[in-house]
Amino acid sequence: MNKLDRLILIDDNEITNFFNEDIVSELGLAPDVITFKDPNMALAYFIENDEELSALSVLVFCDIKMPEITGFELLEEMEERELNFLDRGYFCMLTSSNMVKDKEQFAMFPYVKHFMEKPLDHDKIQTVVDTFNLGLNKLNEVQ
């Protein structure tokens, strides 16, 4: 079941990160859990470790609305730099607003497999992990 090597959490809110870290470590999803509060730091990490990350199975939970660069802009930056990890990684975008605007953008990024409303919980994470294990494509989890 546990095929994940690494789990990456990106959210500008420390409380959200605190909660998400707790819930994923409780589930024991991956041996490594890395959290970024600053999406620019996450981008730097993705650039620096593109080769290594592309060889691993990695799940990314990324917030959409963050100051300076949004979650989607982070993806665009990665796209511009032609990072291999974009195709290899498993991206799940998180939102708290569930607005049409976010959904429309979600549809424009083929490598984003999930789009979920916060907060994360065991069921939602299980859905992501299951589809990840089954190698399924793009699911929209927003009710």
Binding site: N13, I15, T16, F19, D22, P67, S96, S97, M99, K101
Partner: protein, 294 residues
């Protein structure tokens, strides 16, 4: 303009006895007058239609602008409030779990976060309410209040920050200025002083200096709020500085709604004032405000 009575007479000559035409003359003159009257009215009407079209399109542009603002505001406010609510909910879920496990270290940490997100929730609600209030009213009613009351209110808003960072607020106000517009001064000063204290440099005690002077020549009151904080790169940030929900890249770990400076600028402009900013990273920021003297 063509004389319609002559035109009519010419036509009638072909059809009826000329003497009859003479007797019809007064009637024909009347027809002519009404026709000219009608013509003038049509011209007036079409001119006013043109005007209304211009007015309508102006109103339409304004409506579009406020709709755009409302959409943006709605998105930002919903997102922000919901985020706080979700965080509070998440912390309660965690609190239950760790309370059962009697993990007091975690419980204490969760309570700190709960405290933080619930006060952020209240702050955000307040600023959104204020923003919609400002947006709704055409011109804010100016209520003057004693300068000392403003000072007290501003210090009150910033007291926990002053204590936490061992900060200082220095006031330098013209003696002749005994009263200031209440809402405007309170919101402007508490936001700018608060920011000056909040975005301080590491290991430097924040000092914010507030200078309020009268410029009798121009009939304005000048306010200067100067801090020794971390400053900002204005070349990069000037465009977004006063924009609603925008937060600069160097906010670091500091939480915020991105409403403060937006509200300040909006309030000042509603009162026909102006605000300028000077800043240097690592040195500090100075806001210069000019208000119409009451």
């Amino acid at each position: 303009m063509e004389n319609y009575s002559k035109l009519l007479k010419r036509q009638l000559k072909k059809l009826v006895d000329p003497s009859a035409i003479e007797s019809l003359s007064p009637f024909l003159e009347k027809v002519n007058d009404s026709y000219e009257h009608f013509d003038a009215n049509v011209k007036l009407l079409s001119r006013s239609m043109e005007m209304s079209t211009i007015e309508l399109s102006d109103a339409n542009t304004k409506l579009k602008e406020s709709l755009e603002f409302l959409e943006n505001f709605n998105y930002g406010a919903t997102h922000d409030l919901k985020n706080h609510a979700i965080n509070i909910r998440s912390m309660v879920v965690m609190l239950k779990k760790y309370n059962e496990r009697e993990n007091s270290e975690k419980v204490n940490q969760i309570i700190t976060f709960l405290d933080k997100s619930s006060s952020q929730f209240i702050e955000a609600t307040k600023s959104f309410l204020l923003a919609s209030k400002i947006e709704m009213q055409k011109e804010s009613e100016i209520k003057l209040v004693n300068t000392n009351i403003i000072k007290e209110e501003v210090l009150n808003e910033c007291s926990s920050l002053i204590e936490e960072k061992d900060g200082q607020v220095i006031w330098n106000i013209d003696e002749s200025i005994t009263e200031l517009p209440h809402q405007l001064s309170k919101i402007t000063l508490s936001n700018l002083v608060f920011n000056g204290l909040k975005y301080s440099m590491a290991d430097v005690n924040p000092i914010v200096e507030v200078v309020i002077k009268r410029n009798a020549l121009e009939g304005v009151i000048n306010m200067t709020i100067k801090d020794n904080g971390r400053g900002m790169d204005l070349e990069k940030n000037r465009k977004n500085l006063f924009k609603i929900f925008s937060r600069l890249s160097n906010v670091g770990n500091e939480e915020g709604t991105g409403m403060g400076l937006y509200l300040v600028k909006k309030m000042i402009e509603r009162n026909s004032g102006s605000i300028e900013v000077k800043s240097k990273p690592g040195v500090g920021t100075t806001f210069e405000i000019s208000l119409m003297a009451a």
